[in-house]
């Protein structure tokens, strides 16, 4: 898509002056005297690695968090936002990375929250709300049913609905935080078309992202942040993706281009172990969320499973980790059905698992790093029921060194960055038996360096002959990492693709259910 030319009279609307944000609780300077101007009618991309301070800066701009110092001007007048409501009143609306909706509210109720339509006697006016939602939705080509339950919508739809909700507040500046993460390519195109229309209407759009492809596709100007500081703001037409990348990462870092990555050839030896799913079915209510799944993963290969979220990936994760039991069907390890579907039993028989939710499931944020590291090895570190202090320390120190986990071992997990949290989880999961390892969204939200670390581990596991299963909604990741790819659609395996028959486009179609052939693999 060609970006439209910049409007001739680009009125400056928002200016952030020397904004600094200091997180006292973990002693981090998230924003270091950042100055930034955003003009009406432009799509302004804000890029940087995880932890570069992009989201924090925009939280300041949208009233979600006060800056430690510095100020904001709108049309030349200084403003102070103490809550999102202040920002909204000034036309600044942010769509968050994970838009928090109430799942059992209807779409119109979620969108009406805060700016309710009322009847003359002061009660809620559903008709007026629904009409306003439909009007705005039609204008920007977003399809949505105001009466649908929020929880029924697919994750990729949530961002569209969230954007719609933001538009209903008549923003002059719309901020989007990683809106394309759960979207397929056609959906991204649709979203960007809507953003272009907004810009054409004179609305300023800030797009937080770390996907350079998207930046080059849509942005008018690009601001790069690194380690809390602003590196530069440049015109998109006067730069290249490589230049932006080097600004993002600094000089010393190599970029792995996922598209050009060559998978190492699989080990020649015959498979030593297999993990097989046979007719695995899970119901949520009356609906099957996993419908007769048949898949076999063999050692020395990586089986990628992809699809749009809500199409069964999350339930596959739960079943493969023993968190829930299938309502029908079995999982067999080396031909033997697993006896019990509990995380405890799965661990005992050698199935390791890197969870999607690293905070709530993968970590105990209020415990020390060491206490997080020993979770799976606790039994080997005790004698007569007593934990051997020395052994615990040595074990934790060993993992810390091998995975270069930052900071002291006795500090609480809460202090670690996202990348380091994932390192703690990886080191814990991979330091025991490595028979079968299930990775679920292992690189989600990680910066490039941390991502590469995860991929290296996966390759290592593959070449030493472990069964590796990668569950990921990221097509690029699955394409470049997997030997075989299963595509999920509506709870079923839509297709199982071998190395020679897969392309981005084919997978994209399968994810969207364009093709159903080969459903009974």
């Amino acid at each position: 898509m060609e970006p439209t030319p910049e409007p001739v009279l680009a009125r400056m609307i928002v200016r952030m002056n020397n904004v600094s944000t200091w997180f006292a609780e973990n002693q981090v300077l998230a924003n270091d005297s950042v100055s930034l101007s955003i003009r009406s009618g432009e799509v302004h991309a804000l890029v940087g690695e995880n932890g570069a301070g992009k989201s924090t800066l925009m939280h300041v701009l949208s009233g979600y968090r006060p800056p430690t110092s510095g100020g904001i001007e709108i049309d030349g007048a200084a403003v102070r936002f103490t809550a999102p409501s202040d920002a909204i009143a000034n036309g600044v609306v942010m769509v968050h990375q994970h838009p928090p909706f109430v799942p059992f509210f209807r779409v119109w109720e979620n969108l009406a929250l805060g700016t309710e339509w009322t009847t003359p006697i002061g009660t809620l006016d559903r008709t007026a709300a629904a009409a306003a939602i439909r009007r705005t939705a039609e204008k920007y080509g977003i399809a949505v049913d105001p009466d649908a339950r929020m929880g029924r919508l697919a994750a990729s739809r949530l961002h569209f609905v969230a954007v719609l909700g933001a538009l209903l507040r008549a923003p002059r500046l719309l901020i989007l935080d990683e809106p394309t993460a759960p979207c397929t390519e056609p959906e991204v195109d649709k979203l960007f078309a809507a953003l272009r229309m907004l810009a054409a209407d004179g609305i300023a759009v800030v797009l937080i992202t770390h996907k350079l492809k998207e930046v080059m596709q849509i942005a008018d100007r690009v601001t790069v942040m690194r380690a809390g500081a602003l590196v530069a703001t440049v015109d998109r037409r006067e730069t290249t993706a490589a230049e932006i990348a080097s600004m993002m990462l600094g000089e010393d870092c190599q970029i792995t281009d996922l598209d050009r990555r060559i998978l190492p050839s699989p080990p020649a030896a015959t498979p030593r172990s297999t993990l097989e799913l046979r007719d695995v079915t899970v119901h949520a209510g009356d609906l099957p969320v996993l419908d007769r799944i048949n898949l076999t993963a063999t050692s020395g290969t990586i089986l990628g499973v992809t699809g749009i979220r809500e199409n069964g990936l999350e339930f596959l994760e739960e079943v493969l980790s023993g968190t829930i039991a299938p309502d029908a069907g079995t999982i067999l390890l080396n031909g033997i059905p697993v006896a019990r579907y509990t995380p405890r039993h799965f661990r005992r028989i050698g199935i390791s698992y890197i969870p999607t939710d690293r905070i709530l499931r993968g970590s105990s944020m209020d415990s020390s790093v060491a206490e997080n590291l020993i979770l799976l090895h606790r039994k080997g570190l005790q004698r007569g029921g007593l934990l051997r202090r020395k052994a615990v320390e040595q074990f934790a120190e060993k993992l810390k060194r091998r995975y270069d986990i930052a900071g002291p071992l006795h500090q609480p997990m809460r202090r670690l960055s996202g990348g380091n949290i994932q390192k703690v989880i990886l080191s814990r999961e991979l330091s025991g038996r490595r028979l079968v390892v299930v990775f679920s969204e292992p690189s989600w939200g990680l910066d490039i360096r941390s991502r590469n670390r995860v991929y290296e581990e996966m390759d290592a596991l593959r070449s030493e002959g472990a069964v590796v299963i990668l569950i990921s909604a990221d097509i690029d990741e699955v394409l470049s990492m997997s030997d075989r790819i299963a595509v999920m659609f509506r709870g079923r395996v839509a297709a199982l693709l071998e190395a020679d028959e897969r392309t981005r486009e084919r997978i994209g179609e399968l994810m969207l259910g364009v093709e159903r052939e080969g459903a009974d693999v």
Binding site: P84, L113, T118, G122, R344
Partner: protein
């Protein structure tokens, strides 16, 4: 028996409806018991001093609201734990009332107010020909009708107004309220105060109907109200039914006491016993569906 049951249900219903606002805003208000006690004490004191029941009830509502406001303040401003601070309210009521009672009347025992006007009754002598329906609907204290009216008002407020939408969003997912420009902390505090007002009112209906104040006059009604919220599926109409069930069981037990010869002391524990049994049965039945999965999840016990 139905007639008595309806009278007994009234304070439970009022307190539970108030508690529903807190519950909807995401707060389990375990202070209801203490707030009822404060309401019962304040209500009868002010009513006796002014000779006016309505003024007494108003004072009870204010007292409940103020104490709940204190609870809201320590939990929102000082970020105190709501359960612990809620216990504080219960203990404060249990400690302050005997203190004030001793200070003002020289006793912490029963307080009698012989000159107190009697609670007026409405629709006395109206008949439909169905005794059970008559007992349910007619001839009750004003407070009974007040409680029913409160249920209707609660339903409208919670489900039909912007206030209710914001309150429910706060409880369901506070961030959704915050990013929409709603001050979640304020709505949570308002909900706690509303529950205090309702519990205070509930307390006054107990003491004003009896015309005396007895130590620990609330007798567990605050806890029963909490359970009634769950049993009523967190809806105003459900709570009406749950409260009525509690009222009926209570009056049934009172009647049974006579011919079954159970010592009165033991029966003091009955409301608690009924409540806990109801609560356990409710959760057991409700979890039959997801139980299979839950059980498997926790099967390595």
């Amino acid at each position: 028996m139905m007639f008595n049951g309806v009278e007994i249900m009234t304070p439970i219903l009022l307190a539970a409806l108030g508690g529903l606002f807190a519950e909807m805003a995401g707060v389990l208000n375990i202070a209801l018991e203490g707030l009822i006690l404060i309401g019962a004490f304040t209500g009868i004191l002010v009513a006796a001093a002014t000779g006016n029941l309505a003024v007494g009830m108003l004072a009870a509502a204010v007292a409940g609201g103020v104490l709940a406001g204190l609870l809201a303040w320590v939990t929102s401003r000082l970020k105190a734990n709501i359960f612990i601070a809620g216990l504080a309210v219960n203990l404060l009521a249990a400690g302050m009332i005997p203190f004030l009672s001793t200070w003002m009347f020289g006793t912490k025992g029963v307080l009698r107010f012989p000159d107190l006007p009697r609670m007026p009754r409405l629709l006395v002598g109206v008949h439909t020909g169905l005794p059970l329906l008559d007992d349910l609907l007619f001839g009750h204290s004003v407070t009974v009708y007040l409680a029913w009216l409160t249920a209707v008002i609660a339903a409208v407020l919670l489900y039909r107004t912007p206030f209710g939408l914001r309150l429910r969003a706060t409880g369901a997912r506070a961030e959704s309220a915050v990013v929409s420009g709603v001050n979640a902390v304020r709505y949570r505090s308002i909900a706690i105060v509303v529950s205090g007002v309702a519990a205070g009112l509930a307390g006054s209906t107990i003491s004003l109907r009896l015309g005396v104040y007895l130590p620990n006059i609330s007798a567990g009604r605050g806890w029963i109200a909490l359970v009634a919220i769950y049993l009523g599926y967190r809806t105003p109409m459900g709570i009406v039914i749950a409260a009525l069930l509690f009222g009926l069981t209570d009056s049934l037990a009172g009647a049974a006491q006579g011919f079954m010869n159970i010592p009165g002391t033991i029966l003091l524990g009955l409301p608690y016993a009924i409540t806990v049994v109801a609560m356990i049965l409710y959760s057991a039945i409700r979890s039959t569906k997801p139980r299979r999965r839950r059980r498997r999840i926790d099967a390595h016990f």
